[in-house]
């Protein structure tokens, strides 16, 4: 990207993207990770994100959407600040993943791909996350929590509420 163009990303992420496209034999190889890192910062793949990524990679916006729609972690709508992903695939299912998932639904009052009214949490039933021997397992954003029972649900949600409050205090301080 030319320096005079405004980026919607933070200077740090923009610099990272400048380097990322130079890393590969072909610029386009940066596309999938770039979309994921952009989503990590902005929250979802907004029209503005898609436009800037397309420009950085040198492909059309349609092409970016075509690729993005393939990958299950990429989303076109905002999720909660903490996206709770409950694996219910076979190894987790055998050890009570559906009880766990039900408890999350009850506690948060939302279902699959729902977002709480305060925007703090979203919930997703996901496919295998590679924690089968420590089942049932979930991911909250990128953090793994494993060997869970439904009794852990309240504590996990509380810890993220606490984290959000601490971060809010830190920004106001």
């Amino acid at each position: 990207m030319s320096p005079e163009t405004m980026s919607i990303f933070s200077p740090k992420l923009a610099a990272r993207f400048d380097a990322l496209v130079e890393k590969y034999p072909l610029r386009r190889s940066a596309l999938v990770p770039m979309l994921l890192y952009a989503q990590d910062e902005i929250g979802y793949l907004s029209d503005a994100v898609i436009a800037e990524v397309a420009e950085r990679i040198g492909v059309t916006e349609l092409e970016v959407r075509n690729v993005a729609s393939y990958y299950s972690m990429l989303r076109f709508k905002p999720a909660g600040r903490y996206n709770v992903q409950v694996c219910t695939n076979i190894s987790c299912m055998l050890r009570g993943a559906y009880d766990l998932y039900e408890r999350f639904q009850e506690e948060l009052g939302i279902g699959h791909k729902g977002v709480t009214a305060d925007g703090l949490f979203s919930l997703e039933e996901v496919e295998c996350i590679g924690a089968c021997c420590w089942a049932p397992a979930i991911q909250v954003n990128y953090d793994f929590h494993d060997d869970l029972t439904a009794e852990h649900v309240t504590g996990i949600l509380e810890s993220y509420r606490g984290r959000a409050q601490a971060e809010q205090k830190a920004t106001h301080a």
């Binding site: 076979i90 190894s91 055998l94 039933e125 021997c133 793994f144």
Partner: protein
């Protein structure tokens, strides 16, 4: 943090540095790390490939193709650059071994990648991790940066005139990308749709160059083979199945975990001794021996079953990714079959019709069936549909969905019949599955 487990029957080769802080490069060197790479730089490509062939190491991703042979297929001369591509997309349900490798021994992956590169004459290696493994990617990135700082990667590795670069890559959620040609598509910034073969990746692969693609566990095993010698590694395992393997034992066992056992280790012992037996004093109903795509086995089929590619193949299933999923007698097999097919339906890339339509029909049929609305002919139809997917798709995902389904229907026909005529499921309370 994933729990580490141990059992006296384990032979720790690949996992020998787990829990010892080997993600730190100095600690890794202290534990004997990077000696294998130096040795390979001295000995040259032919020697490496001979050692790999002698080791009889077979691909740990699931197909079980001999690694040394795979490397030998790469043409010596090539107009286009050659590449090594490490498959860390680990997504086969029941499998979590690469998770521990990236966490505890990232430098073994780097070493294996360099050695594969030396063997085939590549100057660049890619290490692709599934998007969900972000914390592991960060560990890998740190390890790669440390290896560059030490001069183990770069223009002149270990002070030689050999160049080797490593680039790490994050996926963004896709089981299908674990298939080697879909993996290359993803790495080229596209949808992860399989390529038609031939040409095979060894001839036309990543960016059109000859490419060797190996599973992360295969690659992490390589430096150990060089250290101990191919023949010594082969001697640990069974015939034509060299060495050890990381078995992910999950489901209804007392002590689930990733255990490193010699190839050919008895499956019954694996469940009852290593895994501690069935939890809650229940009985074994069935076991999925190698990840969700492998056909289910009954208790009487595992009595004398050695866990290697050939023996499990003879028993009518596959060793696959080494994900042993243990199922107790309180589990509804129809629900288990439905959850399995729901996964493949979700992950089918939609490129070819037998897989896209087949998984969808199977999911619909099984959902209806499990809800009590099945009719007698559904049972045969499910089997017929699955059998007609076999071998008719571009990539193995179609087979991966069909094979277990056929197994469930054939071996648990009685249980399917018990669901007929509006009878409620005798086991499960979860009838509707939300993943669509």
């Amino acid at each position: 943090m994933p729990r580490l487990v141990s059992h006296p029957d384990e032979v720790k080769v690949v996992s020998q540095r787990f829990g010892l802080g080997a993600a730190n490069i100095d600690r890794y060197i202290e534990l004997g790390g990077y000696a294998a790479t130096k040795k390979c730089l001295e000995q040259g490509p032919e020697w490496i490939i001979e050692e790999m062939k002698a080791s009889s190491l077979r691909g740990r991703g699931g197909a079980g193709f001999p690694t040394g042979l795979k490397w030998s297929f790469v043409p010596k001369q090539s107009a286009k650059p050659k590449y090594v591509l490490v498959n860390g997309d680990e997504s086969e349900p029941g499998t979590c071994k690469d998770h521990l490798i990236f966490l505890h021994d990232p430098h073994a992956v780097i070493e294996g990648t360099i050695i594969a590169g030396l063997a085939i004459g590549a100057k660049t290696g890619f290490i692709y991790l599934r998007g969900e493994y972000r914390y592991l990617l960060e560990i890998m990135d740190k390890a790669v940066a440390d290896a560059y700082d030490k001069g183990f990667l770069g223009r002149n590795i270990f002070g030689s005139d050999t160049e080797f670069q490593i680039i790490t890559q994050s996926g963004a959620g896709a089981y299908e990308v674990g298939e080697e040609s879909a993996l290359m598509e993803s790495l080229e910034g596209k949808r992860g749709i399989p390529r038609i073969k031939p040409p095979f990746p060894a001839v036309v692969g990543l960016y059109g160059g000859p490419t060797v693609i190996n599973n992360a566990e295969t690659i992490a095993t390589v430096p150990h083979i060089i250290d101990m010698g191919g023949a010594a590694f082969a001697a640990i395992g069974s015939a034509r199945n060299g060495g050890t393997r990381l078995f992910s034992i999950s489901g209804h066992v007392q002590r689930p975990g990733v255990y490193e056992l010699p190839m050919g280790y008895n499956l019954k012992k694996m469940i009852y001794e290593v895994g501690g037996g069935i939890r809650g004093g229940r009985k074994l109903k069935a076991v999925v021996p190698g990840g969700s795509s492998t056909p289910v086995l009954l208790p009487e089929e595992i009595e004398n079953l050695g866990m290697d590619f050939d023996q499990v193949g003879k028993a009518g299933s596959m060793l696959g990714s080494g994900g042993v999923v243990v199922i107790d007698d309180q589990t509804c097999i129809v629900e288990f079959a439905l959850r399995t097919i729901s996964f493949y339906q979700h992950e089918s890339c939609g490129w070819c019709i037998p897989c896209r339509e087949g998984t969808d029909w199977l999911k619909k049929s099984l959902t209806r069936f499990h809800a009590g609305y099945g009719v007698a002919k559904d049972i045969d139809n499910i089997q017929y549909l699955a059998e007609n997917m076999l071998g008719r798709t571009f990539c193995p995902l179609g087979d991966a969905a069909a094979m277990p389904t056929i197994g469930f229907v054939k071996k648990f026909r009685k249980e399917f019949e018990e669901h007929l005529n509006g009878k409620p499921c005798p086991f499960a309370k979860h009838v509707e599955l939300a993943v669509v």
